[in-house]
Amino acid sequence: MTHLTHNPDLTGSVIFGLGWVYLLLFFMNIAWTKRSLALDGICHTGLGVPYAALWAVYAAMLLMISITHLTGWDTPQQFSLVMPEFLKYPINKASNPVAFFVGSTTIYILMIVLRKWWTTPTAGWILLNLSILFLALSITDYDFRQIVGKPDNVPIVAMLYIVGFFTWLYFKKSVDNDARKAAGRPLLEQENAEKVLTWPDLVYTELVCMVLVTAVLIAWGIVLQAPLEEPASAAKTPNPSKAPWYFLGLQEMLVYFDPWMAGVVLPSVILVGLMAVPYIDFNKLGNGYYTFNERKFAVSTFLFGFLPLWVAMIVLGTFLRGPNWNFFSPYEFWDVHKLELLNNINLSELFWIKGLGQPLPVVPQNASFPVQAWYIVCREGVGLLAVAFYLLALPNLMAATVFKGFYIKMGFLRYMVLANLMLMMMSLPIKMVLRWAVNLKYIVAIPEWFFNI
């Protein structure tokens, strides 16, 4: 029951380490204050002080917090600069797969809608500071630390920052270029078109990067030990049993699909679909320069598949899926006996039992194959029709309505490839929503033939 008490196991070394994190953040913000003083000017709404003054106050607070950590670490149980319960409680309450998926999709949409705002350097800096503060405060929570501080998972935190930075960089350059296009000015890439030599400019940069990466890898290998688990046993599966981090999106997909679909068909479609992108892309704009406005469809489709459906699923699988693949909120104890009732039913059961109020058609004993097939097709008729509608009729409907322009520009074959790839990608969120909304297990469930959709 120790996990229920106030900040249990908050050790001195954790507090001491956090002190260094805050100190680093303090120095970063000192540099930022200097930059702000030179560039940002005066805040006219209040007292008329320069913006840099606000940053200086913030940096001073960070320094005080850092000193508190670095000096007060010897009495960890009395330490009060921890994640407050009033923040933990709503986060824990609001955490579930639905909220996570809806939240990540909302963030994704906001990222595109508010791209002009969040790509300014100040906004980017504020977001970075907020995320580091959130992480540093959360580390004081025992359960959060157990998961995020696991040596396996530390690189995934780093990866999130890298993904965030490069997405930010892309949107920043795109917003800049789109504004230049609108104003009739030359593009960023044309204005900075001066060329440098491979030797020494590129090769030296590569050398420096190589040395840095090697140093980081060595330090990482020494500081964070690779955890070994118990010896493998055919009769015992570790609980939770997790795929390598880069496959956790697939593992999350396996919760909603048959292994044949989520393990073979959809990954192949992802790979082949990515290979097909150059052939189905008819938009000649955006070649060799950053832009969003000229490639709205391409960029938002790709980023939807990448950010909410791949990266967010990795986050979900790494940090929020615990024993028995149950969902655990960030500050929740990983209880092996957490009870989550998921009485899933198939579409055929929904249709026959709940809809028509009669039992499922049962294949008679010792029936010949055609009879068996007839009964099975009858039983799964609704699901088969739904899948046929989704994959065969829907592309045509979309061609006549929302994708009319695409259909005319691309021609039948290319349009069909695009439409089917889009529909395959959307099948994941659709299946997730159906699972959460009506506990739907399979749309077509034919376990007799190992065929489930």
Binding site: T237, Q251, L342, N344, K441, E448
Partner: protein
Amino acid sequence: MEEKKPSTADILAKIRAQKAAAAAAAGDVPAAPAETPAPATTPAPAAETVAPAPATSGAKPTSTKDIMAAIRGGGAKPAAAAPPAAVAPPAGDAPKPAVAAAGPRPSVQDMLKAVREGKVGAAAAAPSATAKVGTPVAAPPMPAKPVVASKAAKPASARRSLAVVATVASISAASFVLGFAVGSNLLIALGACVWGVLMTPFAAAWFSVASIGGIWTLGTARFMFPNVLVEPPSKFKVGPLSDYPINTVSNKWKDQFGVWIVHTDQYEGRNMIFALTSVCTHLGCTPNWLDGEQKFKCPCHGSGFYITGVNFEGPAPRPLERAGLRIAEDGMLEVNKSVKYQEEMGQWSDPTSFVSVV
């Protein structure tokens, strides 16, 4: 000036000089055709005259370096000789001096050259080949005919030769076998002769590739039948009926044999004992029996099964599988893992898939 050991620089200088001489000789050919035999027949002196380095040809080569230098000098010979020989059309017997130029021991290049010349000669002799080789130059008035002829002739002849090889092979093999069967030495000898003709290097190479490949394949197939099989027996006793109280799941045999022994009256209201294999029907992980929740729960993707083995949550598409169970002659329960019973196939009604408790 005779040095025992010339330095590397000297050797290099010499080689360069020889190269220069060869180049000069080649360049001279169109201008002075009369000189062609000279570099062809006496390349070594020509090189020697140009070379400022200490000449080693006169002295006996003593050191390794000298020998190397001599070899390098010799290597340059045919290269120097070849261009004049090849580009001298007026001399009718041009190839011959080239071969002769190499001296008593012909180098590899010379031999190759000779072989090529011979081939061309043979091609010239064979009328069918002339059509192929000589068409563009020799037959300007009727270009269509030879082209068609050569086109048609090549695949047809290849096919014919294949057929011939196949026929000959079968005949020779048959005569071999027949000879042994009948006991006729004549037939055996005939078969051996034909076989000897057939065994060209090409056939021999493919034959050995095929036979080695076949042996490897057989060797691989042998691994499918190991001498010793280290796996638990598929039939094993799990104790008397009384070991398993009603509505319990026994984990006792899970680690060793991968089965749970379940005693429940929740499946179709019948009091029965059955053995469930501990393999999730979703992706094959091993679920755990959670006594508090009265369910099997898979750690990989969260599939859940009732005590009866029927799936009810998570992605598992079908119930857990049963293994065979019976009461053996000594009254003990005996599990038979070599058979499995799937609920969705209606196999759970099979009386060998459970033991009724009365």
